[in-house]
Amino acid sequence: MRLMTLSAALTLAAGPALAAKDCAAGKTITDGTLTIATGNPAYYPWVMDDAPESGEGFEAAVAYAMAERMGFEAENVTWTRTSFDESIQPGAKNFDVNLQQFSITEDREKVVDFSSPYYSAAMAVLVRQPVVENGAEPTLESLKALKWGAVATTTAVPMLTGLVDPEDDPLLYNDNPDVIEAMKSNQIDAAIFDLPTALYLSAVVLEDGVVLGQFPADRTENPDRFGMLMEEGNPLRDCVNAALDEMAQDGTLAQIEAKWLSETTGVPVIE
């Protein structure tokens, strides 16, 4: 706290010489540095090889592009790791912004602040080949009869109970590898992930994985949009939003998306 007032005072002393690019000056937890948090581990295709410092992967690339617009060179960006729980716990945060596919929801917004969305996620259904051979189709009718699983800390859970409303109670797990393990041991037929994650899992992790279908990103009910998470009332939010909005307008976000999340077309849409 004292550090922040001190740096704020310094900023004031520096006076009107500062350009608009210095919107973030004095508002970060370490002056002159933007501290960005991601998951532990961070997953493909959001961050490649669990190394966000490389700037490889969708979220890592977005983070560096945004930092640059906020006036932070790449060497002035430091990365830290948090779990979901750490990012929402009350008290001072150890990051300026946190991006690990946080879906923006009204309830979450009461406790933390979110930036403008940087990605709209379609949700997708991941199954194994034998389930398809048994006649599973991308229709709600057919999906209802499957045994479902999901990661417990995601917005996939309300989607599952609200939209699919399966006959059997879904099983919930801690993380993606646990869901995959349950699929391998045939404890669940289908699981719900955001589309890029589902495509990655079906291509790389799950040998006979198939993305059965997707719920389109622009569905009217409960759309899943990813935002960067910040401490509630963080003054940095306006700077972050300004940078992200600019990136959305000049097509930078679309470019980054095309580079890292290109293959999301061609998955059948679930009616």
Binding site: D85, I88, Q187
Partner: protein, 278 residues
Amino acid sequence: MTATHGAPGPTRRERYEARARRRGSAIALGSTVAVLLALVVLIPLAPGWEAVKKSFFNAEIFARTFPGLLQAFLLDVAIFAWCAPIIAIWALVIALARDVRSPALYPLRLFAVIYTDIFRGIPVILIVYLIGFGIPGLGLQRPWNSPYIWGSLALILTYSAYVAEIYRSGIESVHASQRAAALSLGLSRADMMRFVVLPQAIRRVVPANMNMLIALQKDVALLSFIGPVEVLRQAGVYKSLLANFTPYVVAAIIFLCVTIPATRYADYLIAKQNRARS
């Protein structure tokens, strides 16, 4: 004591003791009130209290999540209900195996020793993971690959190891002379165990086993790691959707409503046993 003297009213000694008791109660009351006051006054003075209150003690979220959490807790109770009797029986089998004296049956005894060593030495959560994901992964068909079955088995295997050791301490607490006496009366070894040793041994370890029951009641929540949506997992779902930890507090309260009465009952049993012994 006083009755033997037939004196009316309390004796000087009794008056003194009553005074001391009153004084003790007053001091206890005073210090308790002082500590409570300090907590109630000091904690809200902490700079982060408002944020903590909003995140952990949010009345609105409490009301919203309580019914769902209570519903999920029924699953905990069900898992507990089918695990506990199996543990009681399997643990007894292990304890008896460890007590066999015949040289020919030594492998049985060795098995019991290794079993308790292994399952007491590995954290429950690891056993739940390994058995809960590992065995269904062998290619079992539904419903035999259910996480309920294998998760319960993991709890049963682990808890049986502890309970078997408790039984064994009970069995060994029955003096060897009683065994000798039973054998000399013409009882077979099996009958000696059944009619002389076990009735005493099991009764003696009831309080210790009550503790295990309470611990089991809580560890049932570990099954959530392999899929079942019981109270801990349901609280986690609410937590992530609402970005608020209040559901965990609700879950803790639900657990306490069950475990505190159970703990008090165990204390009562222990006190009763101590009285009986002295």
